[in-house]
């Protein structure tokens, strides 16, 4: 318990540090939200200045940061100039969509990677080589390229809807149809993400399994006449868990950041498009919120991995 | 300080997280003599060796080698599985000359000559000086480790179970080598082992350790003839039970 509390405290300190850095970096980028307006000849410079003053741009950096921090504590999480309102609800709205996409993709990727990795590890020889070549190929293809190719296919064949989370008339449909509609929209972006994640996961599962399969205790268990199935699931897999848990923590950690690019390219209404917009428009508050959220997930992922490992590996949990 | 107390250990104590490993250990070893440090696993032999060699700092007490606290390089320690402590890609010459290189004792040409001399001393042909370590057998690698330990002429040599776990024939050969070297070069050395018979082959005196203390310290003959402590008798009885007839 004390361990968890300590980790949470560190996490909060880390997040505070990230927020300071992010704020500072976004200041380093030239211009601000009103720069675009300044270029527009129809708007008087005095009006722009007045708006800037109202937004608080004249105040020194630390003061502006403090203002943002206060807003966070209030629950607003900053004020978006573009949307003219608190950032909190905006981000929350999109967060759900991103988690749905990234979460289902990660879950599916792991679900596929474990049996694939085990299968790879148990079949040496040409099947293993072929499988590894295939995974390497998938690894090389950039997510962006994959997304575009998939989009093209979707447009050509018309089997899957392109872009957005639901069809225009979705609200009027009964529950099950709405759900089906959602799943149809989810398929393509999720598939792209899964294909992107799969090769690395499979390789790691395979490597972890190979290591335990070559161990002395595996040989000892075989010498006792234990059947291969039981050997695999009751003896080998539990021992292979250690490196995989760390990887799993990383999966959770990168849950947000992994899907951002795919969302933008494939039109999934999650945090990705929101972030890109905000960056282009210099809407600092939104950028801050999304970056902080990403950082929070990374920290959470690490913590989850540590706690899981603590639970699963007796060498850590029980001091000899 | 005469030759008597060349190595003096006084009141050495060390605990690891509340658990005492050494309890006020004191003894002296004359120059040129070999001490066998014997005891069951967990009795503190390795901890004592590491404190003397300077790898660990004792909590209390002092170690004096030639009337001064030991400086790096004064005491050389050879571990169990010494063969594994050699970089397999290095040549024999490079491995053996390493202490000289590290302490900058002489020119590279001098290093090579010294290394070749030492190879011969430990029974490896001079011509093998440029052979890589992985090309040597386990026993030969053991010899390389010994040459490396002795090339800079340390004041004290400590062997920590270096002979345990070796094939029995190899063990006998290395034992013979060590005994010869000790006699010829008048090495001051400590041999840590749990095998009393092995200790007797090389050492003049034997100290028996139990739970962090030295419970008996006598010349090898005295110890074997008339052991005083129960632990000594126990070890003797076990060693005798395992020895072949005629040992």
């Amino acid at each position: 318990m004390r361990y968890v509390l300590r980790r949470v405290l560190y996490a909060l300190l880390l997040l505070a540090g990230v927020s300071v850095l992010t704020f500072a970096f976004s200041e380093l980028a030239p211009g601000d939200y009103y720069t675009q307006m300044r270029v527009d000849p129809s708007i008087a410079p005095e009006a722009v200045d007045a708006l800037r003053h109202k937004a608080g741009y004249d105040r020194p950096l630390p003061v502006r940061y403090a203002g943002w921090a206060a807003s966070v504590l209030r629950g607003d999480f900053g004020y978006s100039l573009a949307y003219a309102g608190p950032v909190g609800p905006l981000v929350l709205d999109r967060l759900g969509a991103t988690l749905l996409l990234a979460g289902s993709a990660t879950f599916t990727a792991w679900l596929l990677a474990i049996p694939l990795g085990i299968w790879n590890a148990t079949r040496r020889g040409w099947q293993d080589a072929l499988s590894r070549a295939a995974m390497a190929l998938l690894l090389i293809v950039p997510d962006l390229l994959l997304a575009i190719v998939v989009l093209l296919m979707a447009v050509e064949t018309g089997w899957f809807p392109v872009g957005s989370m639901a069809s225009p008339d979705a609200a009027s449909l009964p529950f099950w149809s709405r759900l089906l509609d959602l799943l149809r929209h989810l398929c393509l972006p999720a598939a792209v993400l899964v294909i992107g994640m799969l090769p690395i996961l499979v390789r790691h599962v395979r490597a972890a399994m190979l290591e335990v399969m070559d161990s002395a205790f595996a040989l000892s268990a075989r010498a006792q006449g234990i059947s291969p199935g039981r050997l695999l699931y009751r003896h080998l897999l539990p021992a292979a868990v250690h490196p995989l848990v760390s990887l799993f923590g990383l999966s959770i950690g990168t849950l947000l950041s992994a899907s951002l690019l795919v969302e933008v390219v494939m039109g999934w209404p999650g945090l990705g498009p929101l972030l890109i917009e905000a960056i282009m428009a210099r809407d600092v508050a939104i950028v801050m919120a999304v970056v902080m959220l990403s950082a929070a997930f990374l920290i959470l992922g690490n913590l989850a991995a540590d706690l899981l490992l603590y639970r699963l590996d007796p060498r850590i949990r029980v001091r000899g | 300080m005469g030759a008597e107390g060349y190595l003096r250990v006084e009141g050495l104590s060390k605990a690891f997280g509340g658990r005492p490993a050494l309890r006020s250990v004191s003894f002296a070893l004359a120059r040129g003599k070999a001490l066998g440090l014997v005891g069951p696993s967990g009795s503190g032999k390795s901890t004592l060796a590491r404190c003397i060699a300077g790898f660990e700092r004792a909590d209390t007490g002092a170690v004096l080698l030639d009337a001064a606290p030991p400086v790096t390089g004064d005491a050389q320690l050879i571990f169990q599985e010494a063969a594994a402590s050699l970089n397999p890609l290095f040549t024999a010459g490079k491995i053996v000359a390493e202490p000289l290189v590290l302490r900058r004792l002489g020119t590279p040409a001098a290093h090579r000559k010294r290394a070749a001399d030492w190879l011969e001393t430990v029974g490896i042909p001079r011509a093998a000086i440029d052979k890589r370590a992985l090309a040597f057998s386990g026993g030969e690698r053991q010899r390389l480790a010994i040459a490396r330990a002795l090339i800079a002429e340390p004041k004290l040599l400590i062997l920590d179970e270096s002979l345990s776990g070796l094939d029995i024939v190899l063990q006998a050969q290395i034992t013979r080598l060590l005994r010869d070297l000790q006699h010829r070069l008048k090495l001051t050395c400590i041999l840590i082992t749990h095998d009393l018979f092995l200790a007797r082959r090389i050492a003049h005196e034997i100290a028996v350790m139990e739970a962090g203390e030295i419970v008996e310290h006598a010349s090898a003959e005295e110890l074997f003839a008339a052991p005083r402590h129960s632990r000594t008798s126990e070890l003797l009885a076990a060693s005798r039970a395992l020895a072949l007839e005629g040992a």
Partner: protein, 252 residues
Amino acid sequence: MSEPLLEVRDLRVSHSSIVLDGVSFTIQPRSTAGLFGESGSGKTTLALVILGLLAAERYRISGSVRLRGRELVGLGERELRQVRGAAISMVFQDPMLALNPVLQAAVQVREAMRAHAGDAPVEPLFELVGLDPSRRMLRAYPHQLSGGERQRVTIAQALACRPSLVIADEPFTALDVLRVVELAKLFEDLKRKTGTSFLIISHSPSILARLADEVIVLHSGRIVEQGPPARVFRSPADPYTIGVMEALADGR
């Protein structure tokens, strides 16, 4: 004389080079055989090939290994699994490595039992090998046990299904002299209580002299000498054995 328990005839194993070169010997029921060999002699390969644990793709095996008349060489994996643990079992050299680090010791013994003998309490087995079946012992993970306890756990695994033959690969090598005596007593005890035959592999003649009824000397993949230990070690006939005994005597 009764039928031998294990009969090995002209066993040849090769890989990139010859590991075993025509090995022949027998082991009688209720007896202890000692295998003397240094590293590189092929002793561990011999143990593994008897149990059919050598990777078939990488090794070429010929010759005969008969267990009570039944040929083991060439048996399929499924049949071999019936033999492993049930008729012949093995105690591996390093108990720390031979035990699964994430499973409790008692669970691993139970798993060994389940392979052929179904579910049964492990306590009697623990007592048989001299382990106190306390709560601590039954719930412990391998890293929480002492070296000696770990070794007894692996011995318990080997005995779990009451095999006729137990092969022990260098069980004494890592032990100090007091533990060696303890373990030797345990083996004598087990031999008496269970009637199991043992094949003890060791490079220590003194231990084999104490425990074995019959000693086999293995050198570079060949058996150069066999017989009662007193004869083999005291009056060796083969040059290799003579060399070994001389080297040992010389050191004293």
